[in-house]
């Protein structure tokens, strides 16, 4: 159609160009100039056609744009920022309630309370990250009367006057006294109690129990002020700091993996099976000693245990024969070279391999507890300390790696008795002793000492050990410090993630990452609220969950800078398709529009002329 009309137009223009023919037209209408006038209305079909193509391109363009858009799951950047500022500005405050009970003293509780509070203020160290909020209540119980200070406060203790007398402390059985006090002090509120009892003629005895209380038995003539100072030191140094000097533990004493899991891998290393082969009854020990400890540490970390027996595992350092001790001796200088990592294939854990499949990034630390049975030529093998003494435990740890204990079998001394190359079982008593050393090492890896005396500036306190490996107040210390550490690491990880995501605007962010960030923030909020209300275990569990989710989000395998494509790439892919075509389409539309306008003008001119003529 288009060509015909065009041909018609050109024909007519050609006819006019010849000039002489077709006088009818020029005669019928005056001054008909085909170059500037036309009789019929210009058709709209061509315009419609080109513009329909042009508009279809325009309509399709938003679809194209949407299809090449990078999918980025929306991350809550503002909430992440608010979490980090919240943690930085107002320090994480753990509320701690103390209760001091003075039995048999004739003093005013208010004065005692002030003096203890001032001592606490002197001793408490300021941890920049997490601090504690103390409340103290003092009760003075003297036969008939019983005074409390402060009189009415929400945190005054629920202690019944007269429940504890000096006679409770007469016997020397600390465990029984501990249980008795637990029945008195144990209640719903988690507070740390100290009972100072005057009575009994023997000397002072200061004991910290397995739960959350301690007691101090003083002689008749002692001063209450001295006792108050001792109480303050106990409260700050032992109950708050866990027996350590500084308030917070360093990072190398937090062997919990980024996903909150620890694998304890126990290895029995036989150095040379030609000499002798030893085996152990691990399951029994696991049931009796390890299971309660693992359960107790549940809020702090999720622990699993595995064990193996290895052969042909010589050590890498040398020892020398000491005639006086009649044994081979290695010193603490050799300790860094003791672990022969080439021959000790310790890192073959099945549980960890399986976990590497489940977790994104297993930053957990396998704790190796390697017991080393020396070969017959180097037996007995003793560890000599720098001061010349022989170590009682024969063991050492390496922070964030694990511990090693050296055991000398009985057959060392009497060569004629042992039978080579038969399987000997390690006697259960020795095994239990070894495992007590292992538990001590495990505590050491968390920063706790296992000596059962705390030597403070104002006196010593005996520390009662617990069957679960950690006493309740030690678990509180761990929960608090892990909560603090986990929340801060969660905030920094999320902050790093948000900075990273914002610096790469064309990186795909999958939904999974968005969900992990959301859940991590929820867990962090829960941990904060629990911490400020004093529920340590659940706050530790929530904080480890928050930290592990944040780590999962940050270490998601799709965040790789090499695999996102830049704007230049996108442009280079699509422009050869669309640029030439769009150029033609636009040019056609513009040309048709111009032509239509011209023809319309021509037609209007003719109409005007015709009107003027008629």
């Amino acid at each position: 159609m288009a060509e015909i009309s065009e041909a018609h137009d050109s024909d007519s223009s050609k006819i006019q160009d010849s000039g002489s023919e077709a006088p009818q037209r020029s005669e019928s209408e005056p001054d008909f100039d085909p170059k500037t006038m036309r009789k019929t209305k210009p058709g709209l079909k061509r315009l419609f056609l080109t513009f329909s193509v042009f508009f279809s391109f325009l309509l399709g363009f938003p679809f194209l744009w949407k299809s090449v858009e990078i999918y980025r799951s929306p991350l809550p950047f503002r909430e992440i920022d608010s979490l980090s500022t919240q943690l930085r500005s107002d320090n994480l405050l753990f509320p701690l309630h103390f209760h001091a009970l003075f039995v048999g003293f004739d003093s005013v509780p208010d004065g005692l309370r002030q003096s203890i509070l001032s001592e606490i203020a002197k001793l408490a160290s300021q941890n920049p990250k997490c601090s504690n909020n103390y409340t103290l209540s003092v009760t003075v119980d003297l036969d008939s009367r019983c005074l409390r200070s402060p009189n009415s406060s929400p945190y005054s203790s629920t202690y019944q006057c007269g429940s504890i007398t000096a006679t409770d402390f007469v016997q020397n059985d600390d465990v029984a006294v501990d249980e008795r006090l637990a029945s008195v002090f144990g209640g719903k509120t988690k507070e740390y109690s100290v009972a100072v009892v005057k009575g009994g003629s023997e000397s002072e005895r200061a004991v910290v129990g397995k739960h959350r209380h301690a007691w101090l038995v003083v002689g008749d003539g002692s001063e209450v002020e001295v006792a108050a100072v001792k109480v303050a030191e106990l409260l700050v140094k032992v109950f708050v700091n866990g027996g350590r000097e500084e308030g917070s533990i360093r990072n190398e004493f937090m062997p919990v993996g980024a996903d909150g899991k620890i694998v304890l891998s126990f290895n029995l290393l036989n150095a040379d099976p030609r000499d002798w082969v030893y085996d152990w009854d691990f399951e029994k020990i696991d049931d009796t000693l390890l299971a309660p400890m693992i359960e107790a540490l549940g809020p702090v970390a999720n622990i699993s245990v595995e064990s193996q027996v290895l052969y042909h595992t010589p050590k890498a350092s040398f020892s020398y024969w000491n005639q006086k001790l009649e044994s081979y001796v290695f010193s603490t200088k050799d300790l860094p070279f003791f672990v022969n990592s080439n021959e000790w294939h310790l890192d073959t854990s099945i549980a960890a391999g399986g976990r590497s499949k489940i977790l994104q990034f297993a930053l957990f630390i396998s704790l190796f507890a390697a017991r080393y049975v020396p070969s017959a030529k180097e037996c007995p093998l003793l560890l000599q300390l720098p001061n010349g003494e022989i170590s009682k435990t024969n063991g050492f740890i390496s922070p964030m790696w694990g511990g090693v204990v050296v055991w000398n079998p009985q057959g060392c001394l009497k060569d004629s008795e042992f039978k080579p190359s038969t399987k000997n079982i390690i006697p259960i008593q020795d095994l239990e002793n070894m495992f007590e050393v292992f538990i001590g090492q495990f505590r050491q890896l968390f920063g706790f000492k296992s000596v059962n005396v705390y030597a403070g500036a104002s006196g010593d306190w005996n520390l009662l050990p617990s069957e679960r490996g950690f006493t309740e107040w030690e678990l509180d210390v761990l929960s608090r410090q892990h909560t603090c550490f986990n929340l801060h690491s969660c905030a920094t990880t999320l902050g790093s993630l948000s900075r990273l995501v914002q610096s790469l605007p064309r990186m795909i962010i999958m939904d999974e990452i968005g969900k992990q960030v959301k859940f991590s923030l929820e867990a962090a909020k829960l941990a904060l609220s629990n911490a400020s209300s004093g529920v340590y275990e659940s706050s530790a569990a929530s904080s480890s969950k928050a930290s592990s989710l944040a780590e999962d989000a940050f270490f998601h395998p799709s965040i790789m800078s090499v695999s996102y494509y830049s704007f230049e790439h996108c442009f280079a892919v699509y422009s050869p398709f669309f640029l030439p075509v769009s150029m033609h389409v636009m040019l056609a539309a513009v040309r048709e529009l111009r032509r239509y306008k011209q023809e319309k003008a021509k037609y209007l001119a003719w109409k005007a002329k015709a009107k003027a003529a008629s």
Binding site: E252, P336, G354, F361, S450, S496, F519
Partner: protein, 401 residues
């Protein structure tokens, strides 16, 4: 004289930057307190083909050195892009030498290669550094370092101005490496990092490094080539590069107890022997190189603490009957715990698919309406839009006819 009249503001002005400096020093020193706990080594050979034998020999020589000085296999990530030992052109099968006297077989005993052949890619290398692996990657292929680790990163192959060539098909650029190191530092994946690069124009590869605690040394500067040391006419190819050869010569003189310093290592490189200038970059590395022993990176020094006492929990057990009771309870708990690991409830986050695909309803129009109204899946929306353009065009074509 006028300034003397107002000493106070001047003093304040002087005090303020001093205070700022002091507080910044205090803050930074409180942050940098991690103890050196372990050493890691990441050794990368990026070239393939037989004539690049020397790159593999370089990497294996360094592997042998760090193992000899104490870093165990579990803390070494060895990436070899090709297999020279079992190459059909190797006259000495299963043997790799770095010297024409064939004194040392580098492939002899206990070589554990973590990434081999075509697994050595830029993506895998950056994944190792940043730690972003897929879930199925085993522990032996991951860099499981922590904030107390010192890492030695050694790269060898063919390189150029700000790049390192991987497998003859892709490149690692200097900004990628700098970005990976920056992310490692942000996640505290190392305490100190030593980068050694033995390629042509090696020093350009760490031009963009800015993270603190990173030390880098390259075998040649921009515009210079790094040369091989000698040709082994028996094997038929060059067997070692000059930079690595002199590094190994330095370490052969050391043993596990020595404490030669890093500055002696760096000054042992003689430009006339290397035929290039070994250039090292201290950057923001705080310690002075004379004080840093070589074993902080090349050896393995375990921090050890003696265990003072055992935890006498068991000796507190009173009666045998009580003990039996508790052990019975615990055995019950124990059998419960021995059940297989329960499915992690985190798996539910993997099910991201939002739309529940109900069975295709009988009326296609209703499904179409449903899908259109939901409009959750953008791709399908785009497809429908493109499809809708077709009748549009058909109509316009018909009208023109």
């Amino acid at each position: 004289m006028e300034t003397f009249n107002n000493p106070k503001p001047v003093l304040h002005l002087l005090l303020l930057p001093c205070l700022l400096l002091y507080s910044s020093i205090a803050f930074s020193s409180s942050v940098e307190a991690a103890m050196h706990t372990n050493n890691w080594a990441v050794l990368v050979c990026t070239s393939r083909f037989w004539f690049n034998y020397r790159h593999m020999a370089n990497t294996l020589s360094l592997y042998r050195t760090v193992k000899r000085l104490g870093i165990p296999d579990e803390r070494i990530i060895l990436m070899l892009a090709d297999d020279m030992a079992c190459n059909t052109r190797n006259k000495y099968p299963a043997q790799v030498f770095n010297n024409e006297n064939h004194r040392l077989n580098l492939y002899g005993d206990n070589v554990e290669v973590d990434y081999r052949g075509y697994e050595v890619t830029v993506e895998n290398f950056l994944r190792v550094l940043t730690g972003r692996h897929e879930t199925a990657v085993p522990r032996s292929k991951r860099l499981l370092s922590d904030e107390g680790s010192h890492i030695l990163l050694y790269m060898t192959g063919h390189g150029g101005d700000e790049f390192l060539k991987f497998q003859d098909s892709e490149e690692l650029q200097s900004h990628d490496l700098a970005d990976a190191v920056k992310q490692m530092k942000e996640k505290h994946r190392f305490k100190e990092l030593l980068i050694m690069v033995d390629t042509c124009q090696a020093a350009t590869l760490f031009n963009q490094l800015q993270s603190p605690g990173v030390l880098a040394i390259g075998s040649s500067m921009k515009g210079e080539n790094s040369y091989s040391h000698h040709l082994d006419s028996d094997v038929g190819v060059s067997v070692v590069d000059r930079f690595t050869y002199y590094t190994l010569a330095f370490f052969e003189r050391l043993n596990i107890y020595d404490n030669a310093s890093l500055s002696s290592l760096f000054s042992s490189y003689n430009p006339s022997w290397l035929m290039s200038t070994a250039y090292y970059r201290k950057g923001v590395y705080k310690r002075s190189l004379e004080e840093v022993p070589v074993t902080t990176f090349f050896g393995s020094v375990m921090e050890t603490i003696h265990t003072d006492a055992a935890y006498k929990a068991l000796s507190r057990r009173n009666s045998g009957k009580f003990e039996a009771q508790t052990s019975l309870d615990q055995s019950v708990h124990h059998s419960e715990r021995r059940t297989p690991v329960k499915v992690n409830d985190r798996d539910e986050t993997h099910n991201i698919n939002p739309e529940g695909q109900e069975g295709a309803s009988k009326c296609p129009w209703s499904t179409f309406c449903n899908k259109f109204l939901k409009a959750e899946n953008v791709d399908s929306l785009v497809n429908y839009g493109l499809v809708a353009m077709v009748p549009f065009l058909m109509i316009s074509m018909w009208l023109v006819r």
